[in-house]
């Protein structure tokens, strides 16, 4: 027999990044490489993928993976142990903490990247068997305010609408959302609606983002005043006959109080404009458009949620939709955009400390119902500690054993330095991880548990429109990595709860989860998977993407909530809420005169453990940049490319400066992605205050007073090496993924001994080519082994501009002499002009090519695409191309 077995067909799975939840077809090709494509059959993306999803294949190598359990020895070093030893260690540590301090001395800190099944098992263990609700998740930092706002208004954590509403709306209002970068595929649907149907897009944001570039109206709002705008809108609707009085009367309560409070906050349009810092004409335009447009969707994301008044911001938005009855019908409604692939799944199982399970809370009846369903010996009787409180409890020693799964709180929590120090004092820090090293692992973990990663995981996730999608494996579990549910169940058995944790696979966990949602539901709870509780293993394996509720098998009819009321409050009426007066938790003062806003970049995600591996994704913004308004920069004596030091009351960072007229004066923006692993001084979480929303516990991560000062830099430079690129002491460095190597971009306060550095990287048998221009402080060197490039060091003027031309050379196995000679010049060897910063990562199109196409007459984004292919795949760069077009076109007189 010589016939080769055919390659398995690609599996349909779900993307592991944002909450859009795109379908992905993933497979392994004949060469052992991974093929990634959008799933045309998936309703979220219909075959498209953004640049991050498209580059998933670059993120799956095992470099740096945690492949077997490890435990800290007495001497402090981490050593490989068996699964039995590791799980025994976790169980004993938890038992010890419980003996010393009770169940509340233990906690789990979970992640929106866990699968629903993993989340379910973790939640069940703690809330039903250990007996504490100290189960919180990084979703607390993401959309807890939306959850709280939903529950307060609807009586349930319900996203009423569906993605189709974005296709069918006539007005799309995005509040605190840079969807063009953070939810690119949904954004493309909105833009398609704008183009095909003429839908208007309004962006409300303190920054002029890539999203704003394509908007019909941009409201560059003063930070923290979104609720003023929506209070003003409510007042305006009330005063102009824009309310749906009948619907209000039939399905809501609280309107009068809400309107009275809204009038206090925003009595007139002029007052609204003054408080929000917006031109009155723009406010009037939004109000008029909203009043005139029935099919209106208001989308909100971290700009709303990550606020000490996030819940009230959500309520202000929900109030407007409830007051106009614009909810649950095609093309209209409030819409929360979630940041993680399974934030919604976590909410469904009760992965938040203030939720019990299956959208039930800590009422006596809910506790009793869940107790009976689980046969739980020790139910948590009250809400647990939310993330910020949880780590404060760790800091003061109230929590002695903490298990972190699939997230990196030492980098991502507010006051991250404080959190990191706090974890170092734990009796037991367990980390379930994909990576061998990250800030949390390095915070003093005692036990490391190798968890399955995307591509290996098997279970379900739920996206922002309540659609459950199977995440299916297409790669074998590497080393001794195991699914999270298996790991948790192993600990549960060792704690004596074997019978309740005896599933044989994720399908069994899912059935139990679905059955709990159905248990004594009878329409009283929004979250209802009754129709999926009886799935066979084969059914589960074949499960197609499905929106909940699924009240009966095969039920696909109900995709929206609340068109005709039917809220999940006791009286089935929605609540309009009288919100508090908007005010930032902290305001700038003379010492810290600026406000630090934080957020995501287009091509990175979270703390970069995955996206940081992809060279394609490193090119858009290789370094963490501090964006500030040119006038602020001038005032601070900062120029483009300078290094600035940021100081808040909680921490410091040093970032390179970029001037951005899209920043409001007085506000600066820094990306959240870099950690102690990937940059010398860019742990932005460490700078962020921990003031939290009183209802959601979500911290205010987008408005921390900060001072910015110039850092005297002696020189700039970079190094790239075939293997790992370790930073010499004293550099302000950033790691960058490079095809065929690893890179470090850096600034140096003292010039490093670059010749020594390249000699070290060259090794014994390497040869070195170099340029020395001491008068200009310039040194450039390349190390070769034969004709193969091994390492490059550039110091001094022109180094940064040379980066893109040089790092690309590591993808080549050898360099011909002409290329070798051109390398040190920092210019491409083929004589072509420098491609410039990459705009289109899909087709590697740089700014130079785009500018050339525009100069040659390409007048719009599509024409640029025809000329260069830029923006014709994932479309993530289309907004940037539009910005460039706008910047280059003459201003109309």
């Amino acid at each position: 027999m010589t016939a080769q077995s055919p390659l398995p067909r690609p599996v349909a799975t779900a993307c592991p990044y944002c909450g859009v939840g795109c379908g992905v077809l993933a497979g392994v090709d004949a060469g052992g490489g991974v093929t990634i494509a959008g799933d045309p059959a998936h309703p979220a993306n219909r075959g498209r993928l953004c640049v991050k999803g498209s580059a998933l294949g670059e993120t799956l190598d095992l470099e740096g993976r945690l492949l077997h359990p490890m435990m800290r020895t007495r001497s402090g070093s981490m050593e490989r142990v068996s699964w039995d030893t590791a799980l025994d260690g976790v169980a004993e540590g938890f038992q010890h903490a419980i003996r010393e301090g009770g169940p509340d001395a233990t906690a789990l800190y979970l992640s929106g990247q866990l699968l629903t099944e993993d989340y379910y098992v973790a939640n069940k263990l703690m809330k039903g068997f250990v007996g504490t609700a100290n189960v919180d998740t990084n979703s607390r930092l993401c959309m807890a305010s939306s959850v709280a706002g939903h529950r307060r208004a609807f009586g349930s954590d319900t996203v009423p609408g569906t993605y189709e509403d974005l296709d069918e709306a006539d007005l799309l209002v995005l509040v605190g959302s840079n969807a063009a970068w953070c939810h690119p595929i949904l954004w493309q649907r909105m833009v398609a609606n704008q183009q095909a149907r003429g839908a208007r897009i309004v962006v409300v944001d303190p920054r002029r983002t890539a999203t704003a570039a394509e908007a019909d109206l941009v409201l560059q709002i003063r930070p923290g005043t979104d609720a003023v705008l929506f209070a003003g809108l409510l007042v305006n609707l009330a005063d102009t006959g824009g309310l749906d009085e009948a619907w209000l009367a039939a399905h809501t309560t609280g309107f009068d109080e809400a309107l009275v409070r809204a009038r206090e906050i925003a009595p007139t349009l002029a007052a609204t404009a003054a408080a929000t810092g917006l031109p009155a004409d723009d406010v009037a335009r939004l109000f008029a458009w909203f009043a005139a447009t029935g099919r209106a969707v208001t989308l909100y994301s971290q700009g709303v949620n990550q606020s000490a008044q996030g819940t009230d911001k959500v309520s202000a938005i929900l109030n407007v939709h409830l007051a106009t009855g614009r909810i649950g019908r095609p093309g209209m409604g409030p819409f929360s955009l979630t940041g993680q692939p399974n934030a919604m799944g976590g909410r469904e199982v009760g992965g938040l400390a203030n939720m019990l399970a299956a959208h039930m809370g800590f009422t006596a009846s809910d506790i009793d119902r869940v107790r009976r369903f689980w046969g739980a010996p020790r139910m948590a009787e009250r809400e647990g500690l939310k993330a910020v409180q949880m780590f404060d409890a760790v800091a003061r020693g109230a929590i002695r054993a903490l298990w972190v799964m699939g997230t990196n709180p030492a980098a991502s929590m507010p006051r991250a330095d404080h959190v990191r120090r706090a974890m170092a004092g734990l009796d037991l820090l367990v980390v379930s991880e994909n990576m061998l090293s990250n800030d949390t692992v390095n915070a003093g973990a005692h036990i490391l548990l190798p968890a399955a990663a995307w591509g290996e995981k098997d279970g379900t996730v739920t996206n922002s429109e309540r659609r459950i999608t199977r995440q299916r494996p297409f790669l074998a579990l590497p080393g001794e990595a195991r699914p999270d549910w298996w790991i948790i169940a192993g600990v549960a058995r060792r704690l004596g709860f074997g019978e309740a944790f005896s599933w044989t696979g994720p399908a069994a966990v899912f059935r139990e989860h679905a059955a709990l949602s159905a248990f004594e539901n009878r329409g009283t709870r929004d979250f209802d998977l009754s129709g999926l509780a009886g799935l066979s293993d084969a059914d589960y394996e074949a499960l197609q993407p499905v929106q909940w509720p699924v009240r009966r098998p095969g039920d696909r009819t109900e995709t929206r909530f609340f068109a005709a009321g039917g809220f999940f409050t006791a009286d089935r009426r929605a609540r309009l809420v009288a919100i508090a007066s908007p005010v930032l938790a902290e305001s700038p003062d003379a010492r810290r005169p600026l406000l630090l806003n934080t957020g995501r970049l287009r091509d990175q995600w979270h703390t970069m453990t995955r996206t940081g591996k992809a060279p394609t994704l490193g090119r858009h913004s290789p370094e963490p940049l501090l964006a500030l308004h040119p006038s602020d920069a001038a005032h601070l004596g900062l120029c483009e490319g300078d290094v600035a030091r940021l100081d808040t009351a909680h921490g410091a960072a040093r970032l390179r400066v970029t001037l951005d007229p899209g920043q409001a004066r007085g506000e600066v923006f820094a990306p959240i992605h870099w950690t102690g692993e990937t940059a010398a001084a860019a742990r932005i979480g460490a700078l962020v205050q921990a003031a939290t929303d009183p209802f959601s516990g979500q911290p205010e991560m987008k408005a921390t007073p900060v001072s910015v000062s110039r850092v005297e830099v002696a020189t700039d430079g970079f190094l790239v090496a075939r293997g790992a690129a370790e930073a010499p002491e004293g550099l302000i460095w950033t790691k960058v993924a490079v095809a065929g190597g690893a890179g470090l971009l850096f600034a140096a306060t003292e010039p490093p001994d670059a010749p020594a550095l390249i000699r070290r990287l060259a090794g014994e048998d390497g040869t070195i080519a170099e340029v020395c221009d001491p008068a200009r402080g310039l040194y450039r060197a390349a190390a070769y082994r034969g004709e193969a490039l091994e390492a490059v060091v550039f110091i001094g003027p022109g180094a940064r501009a040379a980066w893109s031309a040089v790092e690309g050379l590591f993808a080549r196995p050898t360099l011909d002499p002409a290329t070798r000679r051109a390398l040190l010049s920092g210019r491409p060897a083929d004589g072509l002009p420098d491609p410039g910063p990459t705009l289109c990562a899909c087709f590697s199109v740089g700014l130079t090519a785009v500018a050339a196409a525009i100069a040659a007459g390409a007048g719009d984004v599509d024409a640029v695409g025809r000329a260069t292919k830029a923006g014709t795949n994932c479309g993530s760069c289309r907004s940037e191309i539009r910005k460039i077009l706008q910047a280059r076109s003459p201003v109309p007189a």
Partner: protein
């Protein structure tokens, strides 16, 4: 009636002078060229190629006989000029013939120096100046033969390389601590030494010749430190001396060479000197380029269009045993200078630029010299570099594109 113009010397300067006169003063002079060597004028630079067996003797000829005929030049070669009778404006040849002139050009070149050491007159000791020397060297070269070349300048290195190419075991001895010290800095000289070693040539630096040893024929070279280097052939390539004998004996003003002014005239306005025999502003050039520039300037003067020669910024642009080398101006640098270096030893290239006051003062290129002329132009013009400064080291294309 054309004026008689006699050129003594049939080398590269003479050939260029005739060529230029043909362009700017065709028919004005009746030209007669006297050459001591029994050949048409040839490119002396290519002697090393003949020695290395890369080129036939005939291929070194600058111009074919038909060219000289077309120029209307009378060639008198293989006969030596022995005197200038200024009173009668005649050149006297060794056979007594007298050639009248209205204008006389001395292009007598230079003579190789033989070290004043014992044994230098032994058979088997040669210099490296003309075809006869090459013939002698070729006769003595071959596998299992041993040669010592004295002199680590360009000529000595070429001789050593040529001999090594024939399989001869060659030792190159040089008094200085580096090769080609006038054209190369220490680093480039070290690269060159390594390149020569790769060709099988042993280089002895700081080696002072004491004597040539032998009884009836050379058997070795004795160094002043006492070492004896066995040799079947000794090539003395320690330098050249301007050949100013005729001028001196004719009573013209001379120093090391024949003194000339900026119009290339000697102390006798009817007599001119160009090339290696001339001393201009105190400098006797030993290179081709100044000779050619002098020839061009003199041709214009002789055509009646005054032109001056103001000296040549020394530039070396040549191949040393196949390795391109360029140097010009102040390539050593020093206080007050900015130095930029680009080296890639594995590719065998090295480049050094010296800047002073925002202008290029000197350049040294080893292994790759394509940008040499551009650097030379920048050095000679002395113009401020401005925006060229940043990319200067990477050569013209990149510097001007930057």
């Amino acid at each position: 009636m054309s004026e008689p113009l006699v050129v003594i010397g049939n080398g590269m300067a003479a050939a260029r002078l005739v060529e230029e006169l043909g362009r700017v003063a065709l028919g004005r002079y009746s030209i007669l060229v006297v050459g001591a060597e029994p050949h048409l004028a040839y490119n002396r630079v290519l002697l090393s190629s003949v020695l290395a067996g890369e080129m036939a003797r005939e291929e070194t000829e600058l111009k074919p006989l038909t060219w000289w005929e077309r120029q209307g030049v009378t060639l008198v070669y293989g006969r030596r000029a022995v005197a200038v009778d200024r009173d009668n404006r005649q050149v006297v040849l060794e056979d007594g013939a007298r050639l009248p002139y209205a204008q006389l050009v001395l292009a007598t070149g230079s003579d190789p120096i033989r070290l004043p050491k014992p044994g230098m007159d032994l058979p088997g000791v040669v210099t490296f100046r003309d075809h006869a020397d090459v013939d002698a060297m070729l006769a003595a070269a071959g596998p299992a033969r041993r040669a010592v070349v004295i002199g680590g300048g360009l000529l000595g290195i070429e001789a050593a390389s040529g001999l090594a190419a024939s399989g001869t075991r060659v030792t190159l001895v040089h008094l200085m601590d580096r090769l080609m010290e006038r054209q190369l800095d220490a680093e480039a000289a070290a690269l060159l030494k390594a390149a020569l070693a790769a060709r099988g040539i042993t280089v002895e630096l700081g080696a002072d010749t004491a004597a040539v040893e032998g009884d009836g024929h050379v058997t070795g070279l004795r160094l002043s430190d006492g070492r004896l280097l066995p040799a079947d052939l000794v090539v003395c390539a320690v330098g050249i001396r301007p050949n100013a004998t005729l001028a001196r004996e004719a009573g013209l003003a001379t120093g090391r060479g024949v003194l000339v002014d900026d119009r290339l005239a000697t102390s006798d306005p009817a007599i001119h000197a160009i090339g290696e025999c001339a001393e201009h502003r105190g400098i006797c050039y030993g290179l081709v380029e100044p000779a050619l520039q002098q020839a061009a300037a003199l041709a214009r003067n002789l055509s009646g269009r005054p032109a001056t020669y103001e000296g040549t910024v020394l530039a070396t642009n040549l191949k040393v045993s196949g390795i391109p080398v360029f140097s010009a101006g102040d390539f050593e640098g020093g206080p007050g200078a900015e130095t930029v270096i680009w080296r890639d030893p594995a590719l065998g290239t090295y480049r050094k630029l010296v800047l002073r006051g925002g202008a290029l003062a000197g350049a040294l290129l080893y292994g790759e010299t394509g940008d040499g002329p551009w650097y030379l132009d920048l050095i000679r013009s002395g113009r401020p570099l401005g925006a060229l400064r940043d990319g200067l080291i990477f050569g013209r294309a990149l510097a001007e594109a930057a």
